[in-house]
Subunit: 215 residues, 4 copies
């Protein structure tokens, strides 16, 4: 089954399935290049299909965005599972954040839309919970090995990743596209157990919000 295809959807004819994939691929490209305001016309043109064909598969632009997020979620879950198989728990955390940020860094606008769609799409919400569960495992495993500070939860990984990846959106010309790697490094430093314990007393920020509630 192709990525992003719902198990419950009726089987598509071969040509239709091919077009569907073309559209999704084109949308990922175009959204990455110009952000979510890119027009459906441009996406259809890039895919080499008529605009109406796009709307046959994705009755709404939102549906298209949601489908793309679904693809990303599956990839994210696969990455998390792979990282859970790492022998070194800390390296699992590191690889996960690195991989997530790497993809998010080229997806410009898409990450920003993720949450809105999760609310609307039950499928997406379920997928999201699955990823959260996996990252929680990653976190707990690293904490047990004393490789990760213990005031961190699974969802923190997602936010850290999102924050770091956002740097790739900064359109300074001449700016290294992989600058985010530098700042992911600093974030990772801040996630080590030593960083937590050495914090100056009275530091205001980290203590403020202990348990971010994210569904």
């Amino acid at each position: 089954m192709a990525v992003g295809e719902s198990a419950t959807a009726p089987a598509l004819r071969a040509d239709a399935a091919r077009n569907r994939e073309l559209i999704v691929a084109a949308a990922i490209e175009v959204f990455a290049e110009r952000g979510l305001e890119a027009s459906t016309a441009d996406i259809a043109a890039r895919a080499g299909v008529g605009e109406a064909t796009l709307f046959r598969r994705f009755p709404t632009k939102d549906d298209l965005v949601t489908a793309i997020i679904g693809v990303q979620f599956e990839e994210s879950a696969a990455l998390a599972e792979s990282c859970l198989a790492d022998e070194d728990p800390w390296q699992g955390v590191e690889r996960f954040l690195y991989g997530m940020a790497e993809r998010a860094a080229v997806d410009h606008g898409i990450a920003g839309a993720t949450k809105e769609k999760c609310v609307a799409s039950p499928t997406l919400a379920g997928e999201r919970r699955r990823i959260l569960d996996l990252t929680s495992q990653l976190v707990r495993r690293a904490q047990k090995a004393d490789a990760l500070r213990d005031d961190i939860a699974g969802q923190d990984l997602m936010f850290v990743m999102s924050a770091v990846a956002s740097l790739a959106d900064l359109p300074f010309p001449g700016l290294r596209a992989d600058l985010w790697k530098r700042y992911l490094g600093i974030f990772l430093d801040g996630l080590r157990p030593e960083a937590a314990t050495r914090l100056r007393p009275g530091a205001p920020s980290r203590k403020v919000i202990e348990n971010p509630e994210v569904e």
Copy 2:
């Protein structure tokens, strides 16, 4: 000279200058509320002026955005100067990042537009260099006091701030608007000298980019 007004612009009549300020103030409000896609018509209405008046002062929507970024840059510079006056060098760093992220967190779309405009507008580029100079002073002062890891440069503060503030744009409903504070805390932890020295050998990320070139 009014904030955000170019030094080379011809002097405006009093009423024209007043309108200019009204428009800038309205734009800051409206952009913060609805993002950069807010319409010029809405901004003009909020300012209580005609739409054509807006375009007389800012021939392009981009020009208006640029002007707003200019206002923010002046505020940022003022904040940096105030933080340089802090007795405790580390607290200066902390307050600067906190203050910058706090404003960025309510400016939704604007932060993302900053870099594009800096390239186009020489005024903005100059202002930016000034801020960079101030943050470099902040950084060096903290490093001399052994409060900040020494592989950090002035511009890193800007990027860290930007990354953290981006979290405020995540539209999870029900998500605490001040969640960015939690992650700024982690980032700050990663900036301490101890965090740098304790990093596992072989950690790939931070070492990758030593000297980000940003103009």
Copy 3:
């Protein structure tokens, strides 16, 4: 021969004929519910056939509408014949108008399309002449029995019916769907011989057009 099927059409295979009937039945339902702007896709879906199948049988949406009008014309002719068999000639007229208006009242858009199609389709035009002939018999029979004013012709019944039925299309919410019955009553009153003779002298309207020419 199936209802609405042209005598000159080549014989259809059994399954094709079945599909044709399914489509016509579905179209009658859907048009009655949503008017003539209902989409061919909806009709095909209601019929349980593919959209292309619909267009194989009816190369144009207009052809489908024409076919439905044909079905209605056959029903109308049958009704007229049944009313001719009434013992009471006036009751024949009354029952005919009542029955025609009753159906038209639920067919929303279709009545309005009838005439356009009659012109285009020779089959339909022939059918129409047949109905006109029957209504003329209804009228003459009632006139001979002195139950109907004598300045009325067969085609007048069609127009009166159409006028009354149009009231069912008025989309006042909360309006009784059978309000047309009230006005059919008034119309019937106006058709009685006494109504004609009692008209005030000089009344401009009825005398204006003595012999409407309708083909």
Copy 4:
């Protein structure tokens, strides 16, 4: 004040007012020719303005339709008042129905939309009540003069008019456009007191609905 212009609307500049009238006039023409499905683009072109100009004055196609209905309502009220001034009460009724049907006969689709809009627009609803009040006066005056059957109410005039006018929509080519006059005559015959009293006992239709409730 121009017809159809709300007393509470802000004053329009001269050129804008002219364009507004051009648009309304064009819309009346185009809707009359092609029905309410005529496109806003066609109306704008007929008016000789850009499409966006149309939408500036009437933010929605519905708003445009509503405005046109408003114009008609004002004309209708004026007609009713004029007919109330007739010396002969019956002739007042006759002239009113004749005038209303005459205009409706060229307005094709518009009458059908009237009720939907009345619900949405308070202005329109008020105007409608005013017309209903005037027609009720027309009816009562004629009934007192024993010129109109007494089981008729003011709103019946509107429905009768609507039914008769609908005949003008029948697109039979070669059909006299003023055929509705003939049937208005029959309807008027049915409205005379004699028609009511002479009705055969047992006639089912008229008695069915005594008091149609229309707001």
